[in-house]
Point group: C2
Chain length 128, copies 2
């Protein structure tokens, strides 16, 4: 008789993060938007609180204005930035709600990790 597969342990997320995993698709979108050096720098500039035009945001990068526009569009699709039309220019500003939610997810992961470490520590100590 051939041996049977002994693999059937489907791991699941801990309760603390399961709620955030439910929104993992939108959250992954936020992380993906931040996952590019150019876009991360754009966000870092915008977090100063002002509203900047595309031409202004292009100054300081070594890519074309159209490329910056594309990056801003990616950030906008992820809900990280907003644009406001002002005359002939389009001003961009931060929309920190999604970033805040991403931060909370990373916090939850760190918390769960600490809990797991504590459990392991207590287990080791009880075996001494």
């Amino acid at each position: 008789m051939p041996s049977k597969p002994r693999n059937p342990s489907p791991p699941s997320s801990p309760a603390g993060v399961s709620g955030l995993v439910r929104a993992s698709d939108t959250l992954a979108g936020v992380f993906a938007a931040l996952g590019d050096p150019t876009r991360l720098k754009l966000v870092a500039v915008l977090c100063a609180g002002g509203a900047f035009s595309i031409a202004q945001l292009t100054t300081g990068t070594d890519i074309s204005r159209q490329a910056v526009t594309k990056h801003l569009q990616v950030l906008s699709d992820a809900g990280v930035v907003r644009d406001v039309k002002m005359g002939r220019e389009r001003l961009w500003q931060l929309e920190p709600a999604q970033i805040d939610e991403a931060r909370r997810m990373l916090e939850a992961i760190g918390r769960e990790w600490d809990v797991a470490l504590n459990k392991l520590k207590m287990f080791v100590e009880s075996a001494e």
Copy 2:
């Protein structure tokens, strides 16, 4: 006389985040690694603290084992996970240091944003 360009305001990141922007390339790598629903779920599972094999981690996804291996490799390149060889299986576990740094960057961005809002609020009040 033709008018001259009046654009020369190169925006710069505020002091609070400039230090983190310096490491923006590695940080962007971490965000990019988290920027995929499958990988985000893998991280959520691993944050429970255990060490899981590739076959175990594949259970629960709807993609092939080889695809999961590729995702784990991406997370490993970003320094988010570590692997340990145990007999014929390869166990993966979380490496929370990079995730923690990413969380700190999001915190810094949120802080700068709050500072900017406060400045604006004080300016408006002083004009009344």
